[in-house]
Symmetry: C2
Subunit: 263 residues, 2 copies
């Protein structure tokens, strides 16, 4: 199973271009649609046996409504959104074709797919799912098959909470008026790593990050849980309750050991 | 200026041992005192031209009261505590000798001093300050001269806030009952780095981390500022205020660019 041509809706966006290049380098013919392209989204749906949706999350549903009904049952529709539960449900609702939910767990700033993770949610049929998974595995990516619901729940920590923490840290540094140069000069090995993670945000799209923050079904819950942990820890520190602090610290150390073993 | 022998009070502790090895490898004679050693703290104060204090912060003041008055004016007293304002003040109060505050900005888990940062606060006299700074520079460390007050203020972010954030993140992961293996499998490049930082806590001493959290004069203020940022961001996300989110995100991106340039 090798598609004659691959369609990418949103092929001029950063992630669309990234995957278009990846497929082209692997010898595939790639057709794209975007604002002002010769081919429309509907053209791709009619002409390509497999179509990728690389569109902003806020435009996702209208695009699926537009292209989904045009796709024949043997075709494949694969999205690249950062969330999966609602997105897969919308694709299943608007199509009779094969459906795969995919979430490349990296941004378009990465140079290579080797070692990068891609979450895959098989939703209807397995032909295009198997083709895409084999393609990614062959390219050196690490694919993880997961249900849309578990995906979104884990992303509530991996993306929502992680971004939330980085933004809160950045906001404090900005509000305190601290000199970034001085922070770098005196950083510990741990904090220099934290600053490096924070500085990676400079490459990212604020609107995508807003969608990840706002649209994850578990977002409010995880932010609330973090605020509770902050408030608990703040109290422990403010009241110098050393025994409780050491207890909590030790539990996090145990988690740290499990993370090390998990690699 | 090269001391005949170097004394290390707390020479059996992890940081004491680390520096004892560093000095020995550089050809110095090192004498240590600790619980049950042949030499007492007072012996070191009387016999060694330069004495390092590598003792837990909660025992620091009593040790300075014990050894400080025994040291002749030409001797040097250098501490290795993670905080500097109170520590330097106590050493100045209890001695007439030369005094240097030092904070190695790394833990005893690091293999080499090359590229590691050490904050130095010259406090009284410059002979021993110059000797120690030259020694560190020659060994490949990056020394940063700073006032005790600025040091503690920057450490409120670099250590207090950084550790605080990692503990709050670990606490949330633990309370949510998430599988660390699954988090690693689906981690983005950003979050895998965050998990790596968190897992470094496994090597650290909970009591030192409690002291860093509890004793920094700016600790309460910085934890409060972080809780305010969390609460502000939580509200923005909960109410899906995209414009404000993008504004804050962009400000953090600007900070990220400054951090990159600062390296």
């Amino acid at each position: 199973m090798r598609p004659e041509r691959i369609g990418i809706v949103g092929g001029r966006g950063r992630m669309g271009r990234w995957f278009a290049n990846l497929f082209k380098r692997a010898g595939y013919q790639v057709e794209i649609s975007d604002l002002g392209t010769p081919l429309s989204n509907q053209d791709l749906a009619r002409q390509c046996p497999v179509v990728f949706l690389a569109v902003p999350m806020e435009r996702f549903e209208e695009v699926v409504i537009q292209v989904g009904p045009l796709m024949p049952p043997e075709a494949g529709l694969i999205d690249l959104c950062s969330l999966k539960a609602r997105q897969v449900a919308v694709m299943l609702r608007e199509t009779t074709c094969q459906v795969v939910g995919a979430h490349p767990l990296f941004g378009p700033g990465e140079n290579s797919i080797v070692g990068q993770r891609v979450a895959l949610c098989p939703a209807r049929g397995n032909g295009w799912f198997n083709w895409f998974k084999d393609f990614l595995d062959t390219q050196g990516a690490e694919t993880v098959v997961i249900s849309p619901e578990e995906h979104d729940q884990l992303m509530a920590v991996i993306q929502v909470l992680n971004h939330f923490i980085l933004l809160a840290l950045g906001e404090v540094i900005n509000r305190q008026g601290l000199d970034p140069q001085r922070l770098v000069n005196l950083a510990t090995p741990s904090f220099i790593r934290q600053l490096n993670i924070l500085s990676r945000l400079a490459d990212q799209d604020p609107h995508l990050y807003a969608a990840i923050q706002f649209d994850n079904p578990a977002g409010d819950q995880i932010r609330e849980a973090f605020a509770r942990a902050v408030s608990k820890l703040k109290e422990i520190a403010q009241e110098r309750r050393e025994e409780e602090f050491v207890q909590l610290f030790t539990e996090v150390q145990t988690l740290g050991q499990k993370i090390r073993k998990a690699k």
